[in-house]
């Protein structure tokens, strides 16, 4: 034997052995807590498990105390079938259908190996959805990159997009939306967030718990290799090897075909009633799956680790426990159903092995070739990790940032200047057409995509017979969050909520991915705590519970953190997808209306960012009461078939909204600035709770009175198609601003290909 195995017996007889806990990322007091829990020193395998499960990524040790607010401030709702704490939350959408959805980050791996990092990000979130018992039906990808013209953005963006496309397309999941935002603060820290949504009947919901003493633990899917060891914890387990360090790759490589087999195989074993509990393997691999299953179930489990099928025979038991090899799942199966389970795995050519059984001992015991290498209370690994109250304080620079508002910036003051400003904005990377990216994603597969990017929300048909469907949108403006993290999080929520309502769906529930810098920086921790407080308060006010999410810390280069980026995903329900509201102008002579009020609000907006490179001041005022009224109006108008198109107003204001509606349709409009309003403010401000809708003259009266009922201000501003192929805005400082659709399209379409093709 080139190396010995550190057994429990060995640990008992060598209490004083020095252990590399700090190399594994454990603090001294954490290490001593482990010794206290066990009443002895941990074995090397136990140390591996605790270190990885008590890492920030798995234990949420810095964020837990804050995330509790999502539960404490949870709105009254009947819709939540499974809440925070499971792999993903589940909501009731009616007619016996349930939907599960969640967003997760894969930021750091995507920086190191863009293609594989992003691909395995999709793979991981899809398995979370699958493990709830749902069929994954769509994905979305909120992305953030450094400056568009920075060489490193050119390195990472094409790879990340190809990875999402390569993995998602091969799984057969339509990509229905996401975000692509450029900002220098993400230089060296691109954000790759991935959202998946799945559907199931209520009775198909499954949970990650190892119930039933004597039931067997089956590991199935890909074989275990050296992937991602050190990906979760800080260090590879090389420190364990006595015969010199082995170098294990931190990069996980995805096999989407294997994942496709895993999806079909898992759904077949679930639907055949062969599974008592199920868990995906993601971060922390077998350590996480076995400890969580045991902790959530009977409390005991006996695992024979040498039964795990390996891709690399040289892996040590510690490495097997920590490996993050992709495309693996773990199921709890009663003994009499094991054969049927294995038969379905064979049908799909999926490797499956019994690796252990559920026990009543209250201990997770792991055996390696006949010797006990782990004997721990599973709860202490999975759920009772350290909890930190990290210090936080409002940054010293926050006041001066907020004091430096955009009021001092030079504004366009003629129609010609407005015309040029708008063209510059339309072609700027954050507003330009994202088709170069999204045309790499399959949006048609499964045949249920009713709306996909660039629409406000992705809409998926859930039930072909009744037309029941769901709508999803994700949003976050990190600049707003930097100016004011509390309201920045609310603004992200408000925008996603508005996007869902704009499509005609009633917002129901929320997921989130909180991307921040280092929690050890009190400034960052303050941003984080404020953002969580804002999101929790906002969800309570809107009546949309947080069902789950993810936290990604340490997104920073040196001591410079990214803009705080709390990405918020909102899910809505639409009873009949046939009545969804698309964004394109539909028919000439429809009346163009603005809903909501426009105020002089430019801080953190696209105009200040693109034209002046300025960030300062206070973000637009968020009024969730108004958002709610607007949302209810948009849904009611859809139900009543009163409107022909709707598009939410956000980045670069009403003029950008009009440009997008016109380009989507290939039809222009003639618009006039209302009396008594500053044209620049009217066209480019980013005030919230607004949308542009088009209404046929036949329903105009009905729509306006409905808006009155909801207390939403309505302004008639123009007529679709009245300017032929042009978009014309009249009364801009005494003149007209005219854009041809051709010039708008050319400008919007050229930017991304020029940078990345």
């Amino acid at each position: 034997m080139s190396r010995h195995t550190d057994t429990v017996a060995n640990a008992e007889t060598t209490p004083e052995l020095e252990q590399p806990y700090s190399e594994l990322g454990l603090k001294t007091d954490e290490y001593f807590r482990i010794r206290e829990i066990l009443g002895r020193r941990p074995t090397s395998a136990e140390l591996a498990m605790y270190s990885v499960m008590w890492s920030e990524h798995c234990s949420y040790k810095s964020s837990k105390v804050h995330l509790r607010q999502f539960g404490d401030k949870k709105p009254e709702t009947e819709a939540l079938l499974v809440g925070i704490g499971e792999n993903a939350g589940v909501v009731d959408i009616g007619e016996g259908w349930a939907v599960t959805f969640k967003v997760e980050s894969h930021n750091h791996p995507s920086y190191i190996e863009p293609y594989q990092g992003a691909a395995t990000g999709i793979g991981g979130i899809v398995r979370d959805i699958l493990s709830m018992g749902a069929r994954p039906v769509a994905v979305m990808d909120p992305l953030r990159f450094g400056a568009a013209d920075h060489p490193d953005t050119r390195r990472v963006l094409p790879g990340i997009v190809a990875g999402i496309s390569g993995y998602g397309n091969c799984l057969g999941l339509p990509n229905i939306g996401g975000e692509i935002v450029f900002d220098a603060s993400y230089q060296g820290n691109p954000l790759v967030n991935a959202l998946c949504v799945g559907t199931m009947r209520h009775e198909d919901i499954h949970l990650a718990s190892a119930k039933g003493v004597g039931n067997l633990v089956i590991l199935y899917g890909a074989k275990t290799g050296g992937d991602g060891i050190g990906g979760v914890s800080v260090l590879a387990s090389e420190t364990f090897a006595e015969g010199g360090p082995t170098k294990r790759p931190a990069v996980q490589v995805g096999d989407p075909f294997m994942e496709k087999l895993l999806i079909e195989c898992t759904l077949e074993v679930l639907r055949a009633g062969l599974v008592e509990g199920i868990q995906d393997l993601g971060g922390a691999g077998i350590s996480c799956a076995t400890s969580e299953l045991a902790s959530n179930g009977e409390g005991g489990m006996h695992v024979r680790l040498d039964q795990v099928p390996l891709r690399d025979a040289s892996l040590t038991p510690e490495e097997i426990l920590m490996s993050e090899s992709q495309e693996r799942m773990c199921a709890i199966v009663t003994p009499e159903k094991v054969d049927a389970f294995l038969a379905i795995c064979r049908k799909w050519d999926v490797t499956a092995d019994v690796i252990g059984e559920v026990t009543a001992t209250g201990r997770l015991v792991i055996e390696w070739h006949g010797e006990i290498i782990v004997d721990v209370p599973p709860r202490t690994v999975a759920h009772d990790g350290p909890v930190y109250e990290r210090p936080f304080a409002r940054p010293s620079w926050q006041d001066s940032l907020q004091a430096d508002g955009p009021e001092r910036l030079a504004r366009p003051s003629t129609a010609a200047e407005i015309r040029d400003t708008v063209l510059t904005l339309v072609g700027s990377p954050n507003l330009a057409s994202k088709t170069w990216v999204t045309s790499q994603y399959d949006r048609y597969v499964l045949g249920n995509t009713v709306l996909a990017q660039p629409e406000d929300a992705g809409v998926i048909r859930v039930d072909e017979k009744t037309g029941l469907g769901v709508a999803l949108a994700t949003d976050c403006n990190g600049r707003f969050a930097k100016l004011d993290p509390y309201n920045g999080a609310k603004l992200a929520l408000a925008e996603a909520y508005r996007n869902v309502a704009t499509a005609g769906a009633a917002p129901l529930a929320v997921t989130n991915c909180l991307n921040f810098g280092s929690p050890e920086d009190p400034d960052v921790m303050w941003q984080f705590s404020e953002a969580v407080r804002g999101l929790a308060d906002g969800c309570l006010e809107l009546g949309t519970p947080v069902t789950g999410g993810n936290v990604s810390f340490y997104n920073q280069t040196g001591s410079t953190p990214i803009n705080p980026t709390p990405v918020v995903g909102v899910l809505g329900v639409i009873q009949d997808v046939a009545r969804r509201t698309p964004m394109a102008f539909r028919a000439s002579d429809d009346v163009v209306l603005v809903l909501g009020e426009s105020r002089d609000e430019f801080a953190g907006g696209e105009w200040a960012h693109v034209i002046h490179g300025h960030l300062g001041g206070l973000p637009p005022v968020v009024d969730l009461g108004r958002e709610r009224s607007l949302g209810e109006l948009l849904v009611a108008a859809s139900v009543g078939s009163l409107i022909t198109a709707a598009h939410d107003v956000s980045d670069a204001g009403i003029v950008q909204t009009l440009v997008e509606m016109a380009l989507r349709a290939g039809v222009g409009a003639l618009v006039r600035i209302p009396e008594g309003v500053d044209p620049f403010v009217f066209l480019l401000s980013e005030s919230t709770a607004r949308a542009v809708v088009t209404v046929p003259t036949s329903t105009l009266g009905a729509f306006e009175s409905l808006a009155g009922d909801h207390g939403v201000p309505v302004t008639r501003i123009g007529i679709v198609g009245a300017a032929g192929d042009d978009l014309i805005v009249e009364s801009v400082y005494g003149a007209s601003a005219t854009w041809t659709l051709t010039e708008l399209r050319t400008t919007a379409d050229a930017t991304l290909p020029a940078l990345f093709a």
Binding site: I112, E113, Q116, A222, G225, G226, D227, R248, P249, V251, Q252, V253, G254, D255, F257, M258, R311, D312, S325, Q326, D349
Partner: protein, 82 residues
């Protein structure tokens, strides 16, 4: 005129789904005794003139950055002067 071939292979410990798929297919089609298949890429570069030290160094540099990602791949350079 010179030709240089750069062979790029996934590192041994990295999962190679392509190789695995071929391995399975070869076995199904009756080729016995295959213990492993790895799939790689090769780039065949035709170059004007001769390859001196500094040019070879430049090719090595590009093979290790553009043509392969050292995080997951290794490369070998074959010179193939005709």
């Amino acid at each position: 005129m010179a030709r240089v071939i750069v062979d790029v292979m996934l590192k041994n410990e990295i999962l190679d789904p392509q190789g695995k798929a071929v391995e399975g297919a070869l076995a199904r089609l009756g080729l016995a005794g295959v213990t492993s298949v790895r799939q790689g890429k090769s780039f065949s570069l035709e170059l004007e003139g001769d390859i001196d030290e500094s040019r070879l160094a430049q090719i090595h540099e590009l093979a290790g950055s553009l043509l392969s990602n050292p995080v997951i791949e290794d490369y070998v350079i074959r010179e193939d002067v005709r």
